[in-house]
């Protein structure tokens, strides 16, 4: 590869990239000739510097819903024990589930469950090597949101009708 040409083209691309906001300029590392290097930003800088992307937002949502569902399994075990034990324990559990807080938890559980299920299938497709293109990943992300809303609405329509 001819070095002269490559050096010239390098300078060009670096100059193009050196568009820096005033607040960032101070802390950025400099190259030997004092040009600012723009490095990728970590998600913790969200939302100030990090541009919103459907893929990263859904990724953290997968974790959050996963943790939520794990916490929900405590309630599930509690309910199973209450059914087995019967008596006062079941009455108290039943009253809690039927209360507004219980119904809200059940609603949140169903949203988290359907989201984690749909996005989990998306993850399994990635594990099999499919759908890594940026546009495909964004599209499947929107499909996951749509499927989550649809399944949640259908489930609760069923509950309210039945």
């Amino acid at each position: 590869m001819p070095t002269a040409t490559s050096a010239a083209s390098n300078t060009k691309t670096q100059e193009k990239r050196t568009v820096v906001t005033p607040t960032r300029a101070g802390s950025d590392p400099k190259t030997s000739d004092q040009r600012t290097v723009q490095r990728p930003l970590s998600p913790f800088m969200f939302p100030t510097w990090y541009r919103f992307q459907i893929t990263s937002a859904l990724s953290i949502l997968h974790r959050i819903t996963g943790i939520g569902l794990a916490l929900g399994s405590i309630l599930l075990a509690w309910w199973l024990i209450a059914v087995a034990a019967g008596g006062e324990l079941f009455a108290a559990t039943h009253a809690f589930i039927a209360s507004p807080i219980g119904m809200l938890l059940l609603l949140l559980w169903s949203i988290a469950f359907f989201y984690h299920l749909c996005n989990g299938i998306r993850h399994l497709a990635w594990d099999a090597g499919h759908g890594f293109e940026l546009r495909t990943a964004a599209r499947s992300g929107f499909a996951v949101i749509a499927a989550t809303v649809l399944l949640t609405v259908l489930a609760w329509l069923y509950v309210l009708v039945a």
Binding site: G66, I67, S73, I74, A77, A84, I97, G129, A162
Partner: protein
Amino acid sequence: MKKPRSLSNPAALRDATVLRHVSQLGSARDGLREWRLQRLTALALVPLGLYFAASMLWLATSDRMTAAAWLGSPIPALLVMLFVVAALAHALVGLRSVLLDYVHTRARRLAADLFVRAVVVILAGASVLAVLKLFLGR
């Protein structure tokens, strides 16, 4: 100049992740086992979870007799136990990876890890016992 391999090429991805190349990598060298467990339980949880969620939405606010009769019949009893065990195994892998990412002190991570394992084992044991009691006590 080497051309970067496209991720959309399935063969490229497969060749970089063949078992003999990755089996000795990962956390404490058994990351692959965890990875596999997470995926296998994920696959199992697609049908089990749908079955469970549909039943739960119908049962959650029902009276005890209906719930006990349902949990005591063979197929729901089996499927609910399988669901609880698969879900908690899946949750354990997930929660441990969250701990690995966010808890940085060795002692704290060990404590959190043991705590999560204990809670998961207790929840799984208690749920299975509850369903078994209903099934056997019919």
